[in-house]
């Protein structure tokens, strides 16, 4: 086991993927010489050269659109979108091209592209730097969407995503980049498209992904002090969803609370609530609770801690569920 921050886990995973396959290449704004604004690609251009770690012209549509051609030519582009809010100029290429080419070509064209997006708030940033657009990709057929929550998953999931022949939107919890975690460099990776119970409990189930996993683990620890036992599930994969562990947990606890930073309406929580209700109806002791960002454009950063789900709001929702 090696201790490293989540960003370094990604860096080590990218390095391993580039060593394993010389068709893997990185493109993005400032990813080369600077090593990315979050230093996730630090040192990679120095070691793999300017042809495999490409400082892109300042054009997100260009990054995505050229990646389609590079993928058709046999390359495996790993793309960095600098901040969540900058992905929209590339949205057309992602939704209309990347997501559909395999389907249109009856499997003749593959799009082994990874789109890395640092997402979410909590870092005191200016506008367009704190958004959570994951549902907008998860609802797009043809894309797979995953999110890591810790350094070990960062290390392994990025490699698994790069090895996938399907396009994968890889959501990185930017406010957790600096969180240290143990990485098992020699271990057996957990499957990419599987959810995982991180902390067992019996009274209610907390379901989260990305940055909110830590919030939920902290909430579970705080609840334990009050004698409330919470199970925490890290979804890890947002599309396709892997809900068997969720159903199993909810059948045990009878209560589910979904937590994400993205807005409530039509967020992942809506789909999860529907599926849990459809599948676990007779086991539910309370309606599925959602703790989410409000249905607002992301607010000025001085109020983001009130906007974002935090420990108190999670526990408040747990109380509502328990009191139902």
């Amino acid at each position: 086991m090696t201790k490293m921050p989540l960003s370094k886990g990604l860096n080590a995973g990218l390095r391993a993927a580039m060593e394993a396959d010389d068709k893997v290449m990185i493109m993005g704004e400032d990813v080369g010489r600077l090593g990315g604004v979050f230093r996730v690609t630090d040192g990679l251009q120095k070691d793999f050269g300017e042809s495999r770690v490409i400082d892109a012209p300042l054009s997100e549509q260009g990054i995505l659109g050229t990646a389609v051609g590079l993928a058709m030519r046999g390359y495996r582009p790993v793309l960095e979108i600098q901040f969540d809010g900058f992905v929209y100029p590339a949205y057309d290429q992602i939704v209309n091209q990347v997501a559909k080419l395999h389907f249109r070509s009856q499997g003749k064209v593959k799009m082994p592209i990874v789109i890395r997006i640092p997402f979410g708030g909590g870092i005191g940033a200016v506008e367009h730097h704190s958004e959570s657009p994951e549902a907008q990709f998860a609802l797009t057929a043809g894309l797979k969407v995953v999110s890591c929550s810790n350094a070990n998953d960062a290390y392994w999931m990025i490699q698994q995503a790069i090895a996938s022949d399907d396009p994968i939107v890889f959501m990185e919890p930017k406010r957790r980049y600096w969180d240290q975690g143990e990485v098992d460099l020699d271990g057996e990776p957990y499957p990419l498209l599987k959810s995982r119970v991180l902390s067992e409990g019996s009274d209610a189930t907390l379901i989260a992904y990305g940055p909110m996993v830590k919030t939920c683990l902290e909430s579970a620890a705080a609840a334990a002090d009050d004698g409330v036992s919470l199970e925490v599930i890290d979804l890890r994969t947002l599309s396709p969803l892997d809900l068997d562990p969720v159903y199993e947990s909810v059948r045990k606890t009878g209560r589910a609370v979904v937590v994400h930073e993205a807005a409530q309406t039509l967020g992942l929580g809506a789909e999860l609530a529907a599926r849990i209700t459809e599948t676990c109806f007779y086991h539910l002791e309370a309606p599925v609770q959602r703790v989410t960002g409000y249905d607002l454009p992301y607010p000025p950063s001085r109020v983001e801690e009130e906007f974002l789900p935090g420990l108190d709001r999670v526990l408040d929702a747990v109380d509502r569920s328990l009191e139902y």
């Binding site: 300017e50 892109a56 300042l58 200016v126 108190d312």
Partner: protein, 391 residues
């Protein structure tokens, strides 16, 4: 084969293939140009100097406020004073400017209280001023987006018959600010095309400050940016972006062309970002100190000062300006700390013209009840019931 950038022509040689328009040398000497002249007298140059000086002080104060934790971020503008003041002072009241997030000097000359610029960097605001009041749009963080907005606004001027009357009080034009990095964005190239096709009264003012965070301009363009205009069917000019007189003269002419109904122009102001991209950036990772030093010798403010001193401007002028800058700094420091803190509850009412939808009102009340659960019970909650809903 490797993916490296081929040789590019980016030199700032005034006598090169795409010469820079220059009217004031780095040594502070006036030079003439066959197509452009600065029409003002020395008093007006002193006014420009005042703007340059205050813009730099504002930038330094904001950086200091960021270091003291009063701002979350700042986008430094040192080095780009001449480009911004020269172009900004060429605007008339009825003209309209569309800035990036670094046009602090243009904001200053448009009459926006510089303290209001701090709001979004402090995290208390997403805007800060009324665009219509000052003819100055909100800062745009999405690279290049505003160039299309500028083009559309200019199309509106044409539709409203606000160009081509040889009437200095009626004819209007638009200026779109953007950087060298933005020229890679589809949006900017679309804006150039739309403006050309509709003969829109817009001046595209590119401050080529050599860097898009870490990427130098040769990663965005293989030739001078000004050269692109011809491909779209209009004129491009390359100007010494550290020469306030040249920037003013070139922009004045381009704006007048637009107001006269002769369509768009592109100006590439060749300059240099002396500081970091933002206060979060570390430029030592991607450029040499020696490069910065060569640009320090071309400082946009020093050359005007030299010129004015040689012309016999009394020391009192400079002393008074220093005192004025001190006052501006004090104003910024005091106002920054007293900028109103945002209230999340109020933001629910701000999403739509008609106020909060029933769904939003429900969320607002959830938020207020939750917030109130941490406060003393005798304080008003502010919870309001949605019209037509049973509580």
């Amino acid at each position: 084969m490797s993916l490296t950038t081929p040789d590019t022509y980016m030199a700032d040689d005034p006598a090169g293939d795409f010469p820079l328009v220059q009217l004031l040398t780095p040594e502070g000497e006036r030079v003439s140009h066959p197509d452009f002249a600065y029409e003002g007298d020395d008093d007006s140059i002193r006014d420009l100097y005042r703007d340059l000086f205050l813009m730099r002080r504002m930038d330094f104060e904001a950086q200091a406020l960021q270091r003291h934790g009063e701002l979350g971020l700042w986008a430094p503008s040192q080095g780009q004073e001449a480009a911004q003041i020269g172009s900004g002072r060429a605007l008339r009241k009825q003209d309209f400017a569309f800035p990036t997030y670094r046009e602090h000097g243009v904001a200053l000359v448009r009459g926006v209280d510089p303290a209001l610029l701090l709001g979004m960097f402090r995290g208390v605001e997403l805007g800060g001023w009324d665009p219509a009041e000052r003819g100055f749009a909100l800062y745009s963080i999405i690279i290049g987006a505003q160039t299309l907005h500028a083009t559309g606004y200019a199309m509106g001027l044409t539709l409203d018959d606000a160009v081509g009357h040889n009437d200095p009080d009626r004819d209007a034009a638009v200026i779109a600010y953007f950087g060298d990095g933005a020229t890679s964005q589809g949006s900017v190239n679309e804006a150039l095309d739309w403006a050309a096709v509709f003969n829109a009264p817009v001046v595209f003012f590119c401050q080529n400050n050599q860097y898009a965070i870490s990427a130098s301009t040769d990663r965005q363009s293989r030739g001078p940016i000004a050269q692109r205009a011809s491909g779209f069917g209009f004129t491009g000019v390359r100007v010494d972006g550290n020469d306030v007189l040249a920037c003013h003269a070139v922009t004045t002419q381009a704006l007048q062309k637009a107001r006269d109904g002769q369509g768009p122009s592109l100006i590439e102001a060749y300059t240099y970002r002396m500081g970091a991209h933002t206060t979060s950036d570390d430029p030592t990772r991607y450029r040499e100190a020696a490069e910065v030093e060569t640009w320090r010798l071309k400082d946009p403010i020093e050359r005007v000062k030299r010129y004015l001193q040689v012309q016999g401007t009394p020391q009192q002028f400079f002393d008074d300006l220093e005192a004025e800058a001190e006052e501006l700094g004090k104003h910024l420091r005091e106002t920054c700390k007293s900028l109103p803190e945002p209230d999340l509850a109020a933001l629910f009412d701000q999403v739509y013209v008609d106020g909060a939808t029933p769904e939003l009102l429900e969320q607002k009340n959830d938020y207020l009840r939750f917030r109130d659960s941490f406060e003393r019970s005798d304080e008003p909650s502010g919870v309001v019931e949605a019209e037509g809903t049973s509580a």
